[in-house]
């Protein structure tokens, strides 16, 4: 198992497999959705070949960790098989649900942040961690609605899950921004709530992505987390705040919709990498001093 480095990685999608295998491009690490490889032996064979050259993280979308009916044991077994074969640095999924009454709805559906839901999520996370024999990372989703029944805020809820289960946190900065905008909240204040709820060391990975802005039938503006564009300036600014608080941390560029050429993903990763290096420089007094002498501090 190669640990995921505190550098900028790229979300790898199957259309880029052949190009990556042919050219072994400059990339610090890759992350994939394991559900795309559970029934596709051809894609998995390619991924195993790629894995020989790069650290890899598995970012699941199908565990449905918020489902009241529990987690599908078959899905845990399928994920375990992939984990054993690919030896990823991290395995992660979302604070959401998608399975109800035997029906799988392919979306990250929101939870009410109640004590009941907290107990459900913790039970499910513990079951998965036991099944995989390793800790998970849990990601905050983008939200488009808020339930009236809420005992905790989202940061408090995820913090409690991490404390009770020992899982890590995957902080998606774009999701913080999208959720805040959709609730007409200042994204900077929303991010500050995350800083208050979590110790910096609880965050093991950061996600960055682009999103869409759409106008609803009532003329209101909604932001949709479609992973279909470059990271916007406001999210880059929030990311810099996260790095100042957390220090350098593995950061992923995600892109799923209207997948561009691989070079575009590399360029986005380079923008994240530059901020990671700046944060590392700023975070070390010795380096800061050295940089100052070299005239790089300004």
């Amino acid at each position: 198992m190669d640990p995921i480095p505190a550098r900028a990685g790229i979300g790898l999608r199957i259309p880029h497999h052949e190009g990556v295998l042919a050219t072994l491009p400059d990339a610090a690490w890759f992350e994939v959705h394991p559900e795309n490889y559970m029934a596709d032996e051809a894609a998995l064979a390619q991924l195993e070949a790629i894995r020989a050259h790069y650290p890899l993280s598995l970012h699941a979308v199908g565990l449905s960790l918020g489902s009241a009916e529990g987690v599908d044991a078959g899905h845990i077994r399928r994920l375990r098989r992939l984990v054993d074969r690919l030896q990823p640095g991290w395995v992660s999924d979302h604070l959401s649900w998608s399975l109800s009454a035997g029906r799988y709805l392919p979306d990250l559906l929101p939870l009410p942040y109640t004590e009941e839901a907290l107990g459900t999520v913790c039970r499910n996370v513990e079951q998965v961690q036991e099944g995989l024999g390793r800790p998970l990372l849990m990601e905050n989703p983008s939200t488009y609605l808020r339930f009236a029944a809420a005992d905790l805020s989202e940061p408090e809820f995820l913090s409690a899950v991490a404390r009770r289960t020992g899982c890590g946190v995957l902080l998606d900065v774009n999701n913080v921004y999208v959720s805040a905008c959709n609730q007409l909240t200042d994204p900077v204040l929303a991010l500050a709530a995350w800083f208050r709820a979590l110790p910096p060391a609880a965050v093991d990975e950061i996600h960055l992505a682009g999103h869409a802005v759409v106008t609803g039938p009532e003329g209101d503006e909604l932001r949709i987390d479609d992973h279909g564009d470059r990271v916007c300036d406001a999210v880059w600014a929030l990311y810099e705040q996260v790095l100042a608080w957390r220090g350098a941390c593995p950061t992923l560029i995600e892109w799923d919709t209207r997948l561009p050429e691989f070079a575009v993903l590399q360029a986005e990763a380079a923008r994240a990498q530059a901020r990671l290096e700046a944060a590392a420089l700023a975070g070390s007094p010795a380096r800061r001093s050295a940089a100052s002498r070299l005239g790089h501090a300004a």
Partner: protein
């Protein structure tokens, strides 16, 4: 401060069941939940609409990836209509969406508006089978690490035939390989001719290093392969070939190629078989 739990708090399991039902409902009257369940700055219905679009869009996209020629034939808007109706009637049970849609060919058979496309169901089954074979390992990696495929011994010839694990025998009522080619090439003349009347055809499909291969088979070769893939031995497979040849001869529909000639032409030289001397 987050609001306190109110009287509209539902047990989590019930909330999720009702939300799932609302997201999949076709009837607008059943797509909403009580607004008192929500406390955002926008009505809960707005958020539900976003989730409904995501769920149905993702399922339609997954089906479009598997049923490529059906999509091209009927067009994006009509395909979405069929896909969304199917998704509502038969949502997936598991998150591996690349294996979602096995019953879609049955569902679209006779779908209103497709009366002039009698081959649509066969075309969909062919799309599905091609997609399934595409997800198998190629010949090289399968030989290295995959489970073994079917095989049989031809004792009199002193050889054993090992078939690639990805090999499938597919039967259709129309020449679906040529129909698919015509659709993807937008050759409407060929499409009209091929779709005018049934023309039953069997195929061998397998995954090579270069991609999915399709080989039309004579009825006799298909009978041989069917017996082999069912786990039959060499003798029973040869008997199946002989029966097909005899039936074709009696009916006067085909010549009478010798069994050995037929096997050599359609099976022994095919890319889906490895031959070992015994």
């Amino acid at each position: 401060m987050p609001p306190e739990s109110g009287p509209m708090a539902l047990p989590l399991a019930l909330l999720q069941q009702r939300m799932a039902a609302a997201l999949l409902a076709a009837d607008p009257a059943r797509q909403a939940l009580e607004e008192t369940l929500f406390a955002g700055v926008r009505p809960g219905a707005v958020g539900l609409r976003v989730h409904r679009n995501t769920v149905l869009g993702a399922l339609s996209h997954a089906l479009r990836q598997s049923f490529v020629s059906v999509d091209r034939l009927v067009g994006e808007a009509f395909f979405d209509r069929m896909a969304i109706e199917y998704a509502r009637a038969a949502p997936p049970a598991a998150p591996q969406l690349d294996v979602y849609g096995a019953e879609f060919p049955d569902f679209i058979a006779g779908f209103p508006g497709t009366e002039r496309l009698p081959y649509l169901e066969d075309l969909a089954r062919f799309d599905w089978q091609l997609d399934e074979v595409a997800r198998q390992r190629g010949a090289e990696s399968a030989a290295a690490s995959g489970p073994p495929g079917a095989g049989l011994e031809l004792e009199e010839a002193g050889v054993r035939l090992d078939f690639l694990p990805s090999l499938r025998l597919h039967r259709a009522r129309y020449a679906v390989d040529r129909l698919r080619d015509a659709i993807l090439a937008e050759d409407t003349t060929a499409l009209e001719a091929l779709g005018a009347a049934p023309a039953p055809q069997a195929y061998a499909l397998w995954r090579s290093a270069a991609g999915v291969k399709v080989q039309p088979l004579s009825p006799a070769a298909a009978a041989f392969l069917a017996e082999a893939l069912r786990g039959g031995d060499g003798a029973s497979a040869l008997a199946a070939v002989a029966a097909e040849v005899a039936a074709a001869g009696e009916a006067g529909e085909a010549g009478e190629p010798a069994v050995v000639d037929l096997l050599t032409r359609e099976i022994l030289t095919a890319g889906f078989v490895r031959i070992r001397t015994t």
